[in-house]
């Protein structure tokens, strides 16, 4: 797992993952629509999420239910009594001057996530809590050069879950693996769409043996997390190599440049002056747990085990197939019609490879279309090469299997039939073949005509033409 660069030191990484519960219809404390991604700035706001005086927040029940779902899926204990706090800090993205978050008495504590299947490494979860998302800050050009900040409050008040791990992760790669696992679990629970911009933001703590830890903020992608931590790890190792000490500080990840920058913030935790939010009463949600637990869908680890048992797929294939809920459902739909041993390779290796290459999801290809294609393969009517061409065509341009096969002449039977006819015609009309060899071009037209006659017009004349020339001149 560890690469050459890291095997020489003990690394401890802890993550704070902020995930947007973006499948909800509305924000956390008001009825503004959460569907703002393609809309102009400040078109999804109200007195509550703009922080206008006198506006009162009311908690979205579904957000709390989603939070409980996630916490249970991460094997956490839901707290009997849980409440919101004000976290005070002054920044343009927070219109009220405080963020409504949780502090003491978070929604859930003490969970476990397995990195790979149920036997994989255990990463302990410290807590899961609910909070509101701040607004979005926009700068013209580079942030250092901007004269002012522009603020869009469409995102303000979106429901976030903060998932905090213990410092159990041992490498930047493992941190990325963990984030992928979290994303997968959240998408299985249908509370999260990881494709939406800004749906995941991460703060990471990293320390190496004997040193102070630094906190890296502003990580906003899965790849970014690994890059930021690799940079920070190298930076800390270089400091130690020079015989200096790593100082405890907060650093900002600059995604464009792939580096972390010291922030020198003066705010320390007690500066947030947390106190219970007086506008919201306590939540006692212990009674919801049993029912929500019953409604939990099959989660990735359980699905992986079942795929191994039920379909007899290899562990590697089971991992790929369950790495994303849409792919898993796609596979099960296909496997209900097609031999699983046969379609597994086509989905887990070939289709997944083509999807990854294009950076698109499996929803790009319709299940019935894929089943049709698998049937053609099973019946040996199309070559592997031809099937791959069909998949690529659908992913790039759309269209249905039958049409593509016809347009591109990919049916193997047609080709075989033409070849058989060509061979038979060459045997049968030796005279015409000799005429052609001695330079009578028109003899070829006669031979093509015979091939068309034998295949009852199903051969492609150009193809027959080429085959004949190839065979005769061989």
């Amino acid at each position: 797992m560890l690469n050459v660069h890291e095997s020489d030191v003990d690394v401890m990484i802890g993550l704070e993952c902020h995930v947007q519960l973006n499948k909800l219809n509305t924000k956390l404390f008001c009825g503004c629509s959460s569907d703002y991604q393609n809309d102009p700035p400040n078109t999804h706001t109200c007195p509550v999420c703009l922080g206008l005086p006198g506006a009162l927040p009311v908690i979205n029940r579904k957000a709390v239910e989603c939070g409980i779902k996630v916490a249970l899926a991460l094997n956490c204990t839901i707290q009997e009594e849980t409440l919101f706090y004000r976290k005070n800090y002054y920044y343009p993205d927070l219109p009220r001057g405080f963020q409504i978050s949780q502090y003491d008495f978070p929604l859930a504590t003490g969970g476990i996530v397995h990195l790979e299947g149920e036997k994989g490494r255990e990463i302990r979860i410290n807590r899961v809590h609910i909070e509101e998302d701040p607004g979005r800050l926009v700068h013209k050009g580079a942030i250092e050069q901007a004269k002012y900040t522009m603020v869009d409050y469409n995102r303000s008040g979106m429901p976030l879950l903060e998932i905090v791990t213990e410092p159990d992760l041992k490498s930047p790669q493992e941190a990325r693996q963990f984030l992928n696992k979290i994303r997968n679990i959240l998408e299985y629970l249908d509370v999260f769409d990881g494709n939406l911009e800004g749906s995941l933001r991460v703060d990471a703590n990293l320390s190496i043996e004997g040193g102070q830890r630094t906190e890296v903020k502003n990580i906003s992608s899965y790849k970014g997390a690994e890059r930021a931590l690799l940079f920070e790890l190298t930076r800390q190792k270089n400091i130690l190599r020079r015989g200096k000490k790593v100082v405890q500080e907060t650093r900002h990840f600059d995604e464009a440049r792939g580096i972390t920058i010291s922030l020198r913030t003066k705010e320390v935790e007690h500066d947030y002056r947390y106190f219970p939010e007086p506008d919201l009463v306590v939540m006692r949600v212990g009674g919801w747990v049993r029912e929500i637990e019953r409604s939990l869908p099959e989660l990735p680890d359980a699905k992986l085990d079942r795929f191994l048992r039920e379909y007899g797929v290899s562990p590697v294939h089971a991992k790929v197939l369950t790495s994303n809920i849409h792919l898993a459902n796609f596979f099960e739909g296909v496997a209900s019609m097609i031999d699983p041993a046969f379609c597994t390779r086509w989905i887990a290796d070939i289709l997944k490879g083509e999807l990854n290459y294009r950076g698109v999801g499996v929803e790009r290809i319709a299940q019935p279309d894929f089943i049709d294609l698998m049937k053609l393969l099973e019946e040996d009517k199309i070559t592997d090469h031809g099937a791959i061409e069909v998949i690529r065509t659908i992913l790039d341009h759309g269209g249905d299997v039958g049409e593509i096969v016809r347009e591109k002449g990919l049916l193997k039977a047609e080709i075989d039939e033409t070849e058989i006819a060509v061979n038979a015609v060459i045997e049968e009309f030796k005279g015409a073949v000799d005429d052609y060899r001695s330079g009578k071009r028109e003899a070829l037209n006669f031979l093509v005509g015979q091939v068309m006659k034998k295949t009852r017009g199903r051969a492609d004349p150009d193809h027959a033409n080429k085959l004949l020339i190839g065979r005769i001149e061989d």
């Binding site: 629509s33 078109t43 343009p92 869009d152 003066k266 939540m283 949600v285």
Partner: protein
């Protein structure tokens, strides 16, 4: 005792600029407020904390969309704005 430094720090957290005489005045006032809280020291400390003065719990709303303000309405009190955005000082 609240020090001058404490007051300056509080001023910074609230983004309020304080003159020398202000900060002396605030230090005295904050001291009085904190003194007042020492009354609580006389209370037995094994009481369970009260998080809210109301006896209510579990007040929720359904996840149903309500009308939002228009961008014009949202920005109507903003002195500085640009292309539908609020304009604020740049903070690094």
């Amino acid at each position: 005792m609240i020090s001058d430094e404490d007051v300056k720090h509080l001023g910074w957290l609230s983004r309020v600029e304080l003159e020398k005489e202000d900060s002396e005045k605030f230090a005295r006032e904050l001291d009085r407020i904190l003194d007042y809280f020492t009354i609580l020291d006389a209370v037995e400390s094994d009481l369970s904390p009260l998080h809210h003065v109301l006896e209510l719990s579990n007040v929720f709303r359904d996840d149903v969309v309500a009308d939002s303000l228009t961008a014009e309405e949202a920005l109507s009190n903003a002195k500085l704005q640009e292309n539908g955005y609020f304009r604020a000082p740049r903070i690094l």
